[in-house]
C-alpha cells in the first residue's frame, strides 16, 4: 500500500469545550467538553438520542452551537463555514448514508477532494490546462490510495444506488478519505453489518489510523468493536458527558452500564428471555 | 401547367385567437371558391395554402418559411401584430409578397416602414377615432373612460386616442388597465363607478370580461354606454350573454352576415354557401382576400410582374371600389388601411347587432 506523502496529513487535534445546543425547548447538548488527541481513535458512545450525531453536526458546522468552542489544532473554528472546515481537514461519514445517488462510486469519491482543487469555471468549460491535469492527478491518486486500499475496484463505475448497504458504507469511508482528512469522523460505521463485515471495517479503521496517521472520532453502538479498537471513549447521556477514559475504565463505570450498556451479556439476556417464555 | 395564384396564410386555428382564425380561414376559403367558380383571376386559379400557428410568432414564421418554400406565393395572410413586425424585414428583403392580416395595429399603418403590408379596415386608433366622432356628435363634451387590457393589442391605441378625445373636446375621466388574464373585474367596476362616465370604451378584449362589466354596471345603475372595437363585435359571442349585452356598441368595418341590404349581393352568396351565421373574422378574411386579389388582378391586367412593389402600387390604385356590399360605401386604399366603419349596437331581443350610425369615413 502506498502511504500518502508525509507531512500532508498531519493528524489533527480536536478540542471541544463547553458546547451547548438546543432545539426549541430540547437541550440536545449541555456543556460538552472532550478532546481527540492526534493519531488516536476516540469513540463517542451513549444512548439513542443522547446527542452524538448532533455533536458531530456541530463539529462539522451543520448545527450552530449555542455556547462553547470547537478548536482544531488550537484554532477556533466554531464560526467557520462548513466548507472551510472541510478544507481544514475535517472529514466525516453520515449515520444515514449520504452518498450522491446520481453519481458513480468513482465520482462520489472524487467529490471528496473538491475543496482542495483549483479548477475554475472557465477552465472547467474548456477542460484544458489546470482542469485536465488536476483531474488526471486526482484519478491516479484515488485509484492508488483509496480504491485499492478499500478493495472497491470492482464497483468503481457502478451507480451507488445499486450497491448493498455494506458497500455503500465503504464508499462513504472512501469519500471521506479522499477529503485529505486530518480528523476523520465516522457516524456508526458498522451499523447494519454482520460480524464478518464489521471485522473488515474495523481493519480499515485501524489501518487508516496507523498507516495514514489520521485522528479518528467515531460514534458506534457495537461495543465489541468500540472497546477493542478505540484508545479513548467519551460517553454522552442526555447531552452531557457522563464519563470518559480508556475503554476498560469506561466499561466498568456503573453509570455507563446503567444508562447504556445494559447487561452486556447475551447469555444473561437469553436466560431472561426464556424466563419470559415460562411465565407466559 | 395551369398557373395559379396562391394566398399563403399563417392562421391561428388553435390558441387564444383560434375563434377568429377558424372564421378567417372559412372566409378566405369561400372567397377563393367563389372567385374560382367565376373563372379565377386573370386566368389563374386562386388557391389558399395555410397552416395553424397557435397564435405564436415563431410558429407563424415557421409556417411562412414552409409555405413560401413549397409554393410560389405573392399574397400572404398573417395572424398577429408581432408576426407582421417580425416578418416585415423578410418581406422587404424578398420584395415579392404583399401581406395583410388579422392585425389592425396602428404601428403597421405606416407605408414607409411597412411598404408591403396593409389592413382591410381601419387601424385601432382609427377605429376609436370613429367611435369618438360618433360620441362627439351624440353628446358634446361627453365624459369618457378607456378600459384596456395590459397587452400589446390592448395598449396599442390608448395614448393616441386619449389625445384625440381631448382635441375633440371630450373629457377623459379615467383610464383603467386590466391584467391580460382578468376574469373578475369587480375592483375595476368600482373604479368605473367613481369616474361615472357617459361612455366607456373597451379595447383589447374579445369577450371576457366585458359581459361582467356590463351586467355589474347595470346592477349599479351606471349611466355609461359601453363601446368596443372590431374584435369584440362578434354577434354570436354576444348572443350567449343575454340581457346585459343589450345596448353594447362598437365600431365595425364590415356588414354582418345577416345583413340583407339590397346593395350587398356578396352577402347573399355567402348565406347560400354557408347557411349558418359566420363570425366577423369571416368577413375580415373574406375582404382581405378580396382586396389582395384585386391588387394582384390589377397588376396582372397591367401586364406587370407580381412583385411586392407592383402589388402594393396596384392596391393603392383602388379607389371608390365596390366590395360587393361587405362595406356599405365604396372604398379607397390610399395608404395601408381602409379607414371606414360604422357603429353597431347590440339588440338582445333580436340577438343581433344593429346599425346605430351611418358609415363613417375618416378624413386624413
Amino acid at each position: 500500500m502506498t502511504r500518502p506523502a508525509p507531512g500532508l496529513l498531519a493528524p489533527a487535534h480536536l478540542a471541544v469545550s463547553g458546547l451547548s445546543l438546543s432545539f426549541g425547548g430540547l437541550k440536545a447538548l449541555t456543556d460538552v467538553s472532550f478532546e481527540v488527541r492526534p493519531g488516536t481513535i476516540t469513540a463517542l458512545i451513549g444512548p439513542n438520542g443522547a446527542g452524538k450525531t448532533s455533536l458531530f453536526n456541530c463539529i462539522s458546522g451543520f448545527y450552530r452551537p449555542r455556547e462553547g468552542h470547537i478548536r482544531l489544532d488550537g484554532q477556533d473554528i466554531t464560526h467557520t463555514h462548513p466548507p472551510a472546515r472541510a478544507k481544514a481537514g475535517l472529514a466525516r461519514t453520515f449515520q444515514n448514508i449520504a452518498l450522491f445517488k446520481g453519481m458513480t462510486v468513482l465520482d462520489n469519491i472524487k467529490l471528496g477532494r473538491h475543496a482542495h482543487m483549483k479548477t475554475n469555471l472557465l477552465q472547467a468549460l474548456a477542460y484544458w490546462g489546470v482542469a485536465r491535469r488536476e483531474e488526471m492527478e486526482l484519478r491516479a491518486e484515488v485509484e492508488r490510495q483509496i480504491i485499492d486500499f478499500l478493495e472497491i475496484d470492482h464497483i468503481r463505475n457502478k451507480p451507488v444506488a445499486s450497491l448493498s448497504y455494506g458497500l455503500q458504507k465503504r464508499v462513504e469511508l472512501a469519500r471521506a478519505l479522499a477529503m485529505r482528512p486530518r480528523l476523520l469522523m465516522l457516524d456508526e460505521p458498522v451499523a447494519g453489518m454482520n460480524r464478518e463485515e464489521t471485522e473488515d471495517m474495523a481493519r480499515f479503521i485501524l489501518d487508516v489510523k496507523e498507516e495514514w496517521g489520521i485522528s479518528i472520532l467515531m460514534v458506534e453502538h457495537d461495543m465489541g468493536m468500540v472497546m477493542d479498537i478505540s484508545d479513548h471513549v467519551v460517553v454522552l447521556n442526555f447531552g452531557k458527558v457522563i464519563a470518559q477514559g480508556p475503554p476498560a475504565q469506561v466499561q466498568g463505570d456503573p453509570q455507563v452500564a446503567a444508562a447504556y450498556l445494559g447487561s452486556g451479556n447475551p447469555a444473561e439476556l437469553m436466560r431472561r428471555l426464556s424466563a419470559i417464555g415460562e411465565a407466559a | 401547367d395551369e398557373k395559379e395564384l396562391v394566398i399563403g396564410g399563417s392562421i391561428p386555428l388553435t390558441g387564444v385567437f383560434a375563434f377568429a382564425g377558424v372564421a378567417i380561414e372559412a372566409g378566405i376559403s369561400d372567397f377563393v371558391k367563389i372567385t374560382n367558380e367565376a373563372g379565377g383571376v386573370a386566368g389563374r386559379k386562386l388557391r389558399l395554402a395555410y397552416e395553424d400557428t397557435a397564435y405564436k410568432v415563431d410558429q407563424s414564421v415557421a409556417v411562412f418559411n414552409k409555405l413560401t418554400t413549397q409554393n410560389d406565393i405573392h399574397l400572404y395572410y398573417g395572424d398577429s401584430t408581432g408576426f407582421a413586425k417580425t416578418i416585415n424585414e423578410e418581406l422587404n428583403r424578398r420584395g415579392t409578397i404583399l401581406m395583410a392580416g388579422a392585425s389592425f395595429g396602428s404601428e403597421l399603418n405606416n407605408p414607409e416602414k411597412y411598404p408591403f403590408q396593409f389592413m382591410a379596415g381601419p387601424d385601432y386608433v382609427e377605429m376609436i377615432a370613429i367611435l369618438l366622432e360618433y360620441i362627439a356628435k351624440e353628446q358634446k363634451g361627453a365624459k369618457i373612460v378607456f378600459v384596456n387590457s395590459d397587452t400589446e393589442f390592448g395598449r396599442d391605441p390608448i395614448e393616441a386616442s386619449v389625445k384625440r378625445a381631448k382635441e375633440m373636446g371630450l373629457e377623459v375621466v379615467g383610464q383603467i388597465v386590466t391584467p391580460p388574464t382578468a376574469v373578475d373585474v369587480s375592483t375595476e367596476i368600482l373604479k368605473l363607478r367613481r369616474a361615472n362616465p357617459d361612455f366607456t370604451i373597451f379595447h383589447g378584449y374579445v369577450l371576457a370580461p366585458l359581459p361582467e362589466f356590463l351586467s355589474q354596471a347595470k346592477q349599479l345603475g351606471l349611466k355609461s354606454r359601453f363601446m368596443g372595437t372590431f374584435w369584440s363585435m362578434d354577434n354570436s359571442l354576444w348572443a350567449n350573454v343575454g340581457a346585459p349585452a343589450d345596448g353594447y356598441m362598437g365600431v365595425m368595418p364590415y356588414r354582418y352576415y345577416y345583413d340583407t341590404a339590397p346593395d350587398a349581393p356578396i352577402l347573399e352568396k355567402i348565406r347560400k354557401l354557408r347557411p349558418t351565421y359566420q363570425a366577423t373574422g369571416y368577413m375580415q378574411g373574406f375582404l382581405t382576400a378580396m382586396l389582395m386579389t384585386e391588387a394582384a388582378k390589377r397588376t396582372l391586367d397591367a401586364g406587370k410582374d407580381l412583385t411586392a412593389k407592383n402589388l402594393k402600387a396596384s392596391l393603392n390604385t383602388i379607389k371608390d371600389f365596390d366590395t360587393g356590399g361587405i362595406i356599405g360605401v365604396p372604398i379607397s386604399i390610399p395608404g395601408n388601411s381602409v379607414p371606414v366603419g360604422r357603429i353597431y349596437s347590440y339588440n338582445a331581443a333580436d340577438k343581433q347587432m344593429k346599425p346605430a350610425s351611418d358609415w363613417i369615413s375618416l378624413k386624413k
Partner: protein, 269 residues
C-alpha cells in the same frame, strides 16, 4: 405447541427490474406462535424475502417469478399489500420508515388502518406508551426529529397498534444502543410470549436474534444454506465464527487481531 405454519414460503424466486435475480428457490416457514430468525450477510436477500411476503416488491419494480407464499393457510399472491396488513400480517420495514412529517401520535393513528374490518372500538395507544415511555414524552413532536433509536421504537410501536398475527421485523436493532437492543428484544419476546404473535426476524446482531427465536435460517445469495432450531445453530462452528464472533473454543476474538487475509465462509456457493 401445535405445528401449524402461519407463514409458508416455498421455492420462491424474485427478480428486480425484470433483470436482477435476487432470490433463487428460497423456502422457509414460520410456525404459529414462534419467533423465527433469518440471518445472512449484506445483500443476501433478507429484506427482499420480507418484501415478497408483504407484497411490497412491486413498489420497487420487483416480482415473484416462481414459487408460492401462504399466510395463515391462504395464498397471498392475490391480496393487496394493505389487505394483507388488515388480515394480520405486519411488516416493520428496514430503515424504520416512519412518517417524518407526522407527529409521533399521528404515526400511530396511521397504523390503526391495519385494524380496518377487524376491530370495532377505537384503538388505544396505551400499550405502546407503556412499552416505550420515551414515545409518550415526544408524542406531539414531529417524528422526523426523533433520534434513530426513538424512531425504531415508533416503528415497533406501530406494529403493536396493528395487533397482527405475524410481524415481519427487518433489522430492529439497527443503530440502537446495546441497552436498548436488549430492551427491544425483551419487548419482542414479551409480545411473542404474552400475545402469541408470531414473528419472522431479520437481524445482523445474531447473538440477540438467536436468543429470542425458536428456529433459525441462514441465507446466502438468495438461498437458505442452513436451518435448524436455535440451539443447534448456535452450536454450528461457522455460525459461531461468522455470526457470533467466537473463535473456536476460546470464546470471543478481538477486533485488533484481525488478519488481512482471513478464512472465508465455507458454505459460500
Amino acid at each position: 405447541m401445535t405445528a401449524k405454519p402461519i407463514l409458508e414460503i416455498s421455492n420462491i424466486e424474485v427478480v428486480y427490474n425484470r433483470t436482477v435475480q435476487v432470490l433463487r428457490g428460497l423456502s422457509l416457514r414460520v410456525q404459529e406462535g414462534q419467533v423465527v430468525a433469518l440471518l445472512g450477510s449484506n445483500g443476501a436477500g433478507k429484506s427482499t424475502t420480507l418484501k415478497a411476503v408483504s407484497n411490497l416488491l412491486q413498489l420497487e419494480d420487483g416480482a415473484v417469478t416462481a414459487g408460492t407464499i401462504a399466510f395463515d393457510g391462504a395464498p397471498l399472491a392475490a391480496l393487496t399489500p394493505h389487505g394483507l396488513v388488515r388480515r394480520g400480517l405486519f411488516h416493520v420495514m428496514e430503515g424504520r420508515r416512519i412518517f417524518e412529517d407526522l407527529t409521533v401520535e399521528e404515526n400511530l393513528v396511521a397504523a390503526t388502518y391495519a385494524l380496518t374490518g377487524r376491530k370495532a372500538g377505537p384503538a388505544s395507544f396505551d400499550a405502546v406508551y407503556a412499552y416505550f415511555p420515551r414515545l409518550y414524552e415526544r408524542r406531539s413532536g414531529r417524528a422526523g426529529y426523533l433520534s434513530g433509536g426513538e424512531q425504531q421504537m415508533l416503528a415497533i410501536g406501530r406494529a403493536l397498534v396493528a395487533e397482527p398475527k405475524l410481524i415481519l421485523l427487518d433489522e430492529p436493532s439497527l443503530g440502537l444502543s446495546p441497552k436498548l437492543v436488549e430492551e427491544i428484544f425483551t419487548i419482542i419476546a414479551r409480545i411473542n410470549r404474552e400475545r402469541g404473535v408470531s414473528m419472522l426476524l431479520v437481524e445482523q446482531n445474531a447473538a440477540v436474534a438467536l436468543a429470542v427465536s425458536h428456529y433459525g435460517y441462514i441465507m446466502e445469495t438468495g438461498k437458505i444454506v442452513l436451518d435448524g432450531p436455535t440451539e443447534r445453530l448456535m452450536a454450528d462452528e461457522d455460525v459461531r465464527e461468522f455470526y457470533l464472533g467466537m473463535a473456536g473454543e476460546r470464546g470471543e476474538k478481538s477486533y485488533r487481531d484481525i488478519k488481512h487475509y482471513k478464512r472465508r465462509k465455507r458454505w459460500l456457493s
